[in-house]
């Protein structure tokens, strides 16, 4: 007979904060890094230079069609076999960024495609330089378009970070396995970890909403209207 007993996880609570910090750090860094990868990838994909367009497209198709699990294995075990010994945390961060960066690229490219050509021409007729056009005309609009799908992607990254434990990263999933295997209270450990991921994903989502509102109310197009 299985008796549900959440207090059995109590003695593992002191190591939980460190695990939560690891998960938050890993997913937070991956979100930040994938934004830069996404912007670079989208600029490549929409570039006039054929080679750049090809590189951008190949990157997106390759990374979107390989499971994250395999990318983590490749970075951690594969590169080590070639002599490049990257720690579990860094390997997971690289793999998560590569994977999420591909989705970010497509998302931003979609946002860029929604901006009419006429706007570029109009901006150029006002003698704006390319960086100025992107900074003041294009990006504020792209930001509004991708704002909602970006939230989904952020949650996906937090949940995807759970795979990092397969290369020995001591995150919330690893904590869950430890509690389960040491206390034999697996059901409790699974439920606790599920609740923690729910809270973490929502925290990051609320941060996104807060930052988004602040940025939108301070964006140049909003103040100029």
């Amino acid at each position: 007979m299985y008796q549900f007993n959440l207090s059995a996880t109590k003695s593992y609570m002191e190591v939980l904060p460190a695990a939560v910090v690891t998960t938050l750090l890993l997913s937070g860094l991956a979100i930040l890094a994938s934004i830069f990868v996404g912007i670079a990838g989208a600029l490549c994909r929409t570039s006039n230079v054929r080679v750049l367009r090809f590189i951008g497209g190949a990157y997106v198709e390759l990374l979107r069609n390989i499971p994250l699990l395999i990318v983590i294995y490749l970075v951690y075990f594969g590169l080590a076999q070639l002599g490049l010994r990257i720690s579990g945390f860094t390997s997971a961060l690289i793999a998560l960024t590569l994977n999420a960066g591909a989705y970010m690229t497509e998302m931003i490219r979609g946002g860029l495609a929604a901006i009419g050509k006429g706007q570029f021409e109009a901006a150029r007729s006002q003698a704006m330089t390319a960086p100025q056009i992107y900074r003041y005309i294009v990006m504020p609009q792209v930001f509004r378009i991708i704002y909602a799908p970006f939230g989904n992607l952020c949650i996906g990254i937090v949940l995807g970070s759970a795979l990092a434990s397969i290369v020995g990263v001591e995150d919330v999933t690893s904590w869950m396995h430890t509690v389960g295997s040491n206390s034999f209270r697996y059901l409790e450990a699974f439920l606790m970890a599920g609740a923690i991921y729910l809270a973490l994903a929502q925290t990051i989502n609320l941060l996104r909403i807060g930052t988004g509102r602040w940025l939108l109310s301070h964006s140049p197009s909003a103040t100029r209207q």
């Binding site: 007979m1 549900f4 080590a80 396995h177 295997s181 439920l191």
Partner: protein, 271 residues
Amino acid sequence: MTLIVRKRTLALLAAGMLLGGLATHSASAQTAPSNIMADIVKRGTVRIATIAGNPPYSSVSPSGEPQGYDVEIGKLIAAALKVKPEWVIVDTPGRITALQTRRADITLANFTNTIERSTVIAFTRPYLIVGSSFMVKKDSPLQTAEQLNDPKYKVSGPRGGTFEPIAANTVPKATVLRFDTVQDALLALRSGQADANLGDSLQIAATISASNGAMRALPGNWSYEEIAVGLPAGDADWFRIMDAWVRQFNGSGDNARLFKKIFGFDMPPLQ
């Protein structure tokens, strides 16, 4: 704005209730009747939990069939009970959960009887005695386990097995890398992510003899482990049947012959 916040709170509440409901449901679902043998006869199969990626004890062949020493034992048990084996592939910690949640009738997976585990599940008498040892690459500078006791060295092993307490006792200062399967822990050593692998001494002996000199063991044995058949706790009849089977399996010499066939060397004595 308030409306949005309220909707979000409601959604979170609903998710929470769903998790809560799941918990109560599972708790009641696990109050199963205890006559395991009768269930096996009725079902026509004995459900055996084992792990993948742990050769030569148990692994899954490319065609999806379980194979290895523990798998052969499972087939013999099923034949003795006059039913068919039904394999439940689990991970290292899942060996206990499968029995606790009655997803399996026995666990056969290089499964050490420990006091902690004995408080929640039952074990038969052992069918194998193993130790644990450290394995390194042939060209490693490491010669003894004492040298390994340094934060600059990484030791790999599987999560949720007896590896963790043994590593904490023998090389407390070394950096410990924990993996989901024995196979991944071995891969960490092969790929160079780990400097040493701590594992079952017989498995390490088998890995070294298959490696054509690429691997070697550090001298010393660091544990005494009784490998036994795991059973759900609380069914004395089922324990009596399985323990009698193991006694016969050991005494008849069938065990020693099977071991030699799979591992390629003589089985160490059962003490």
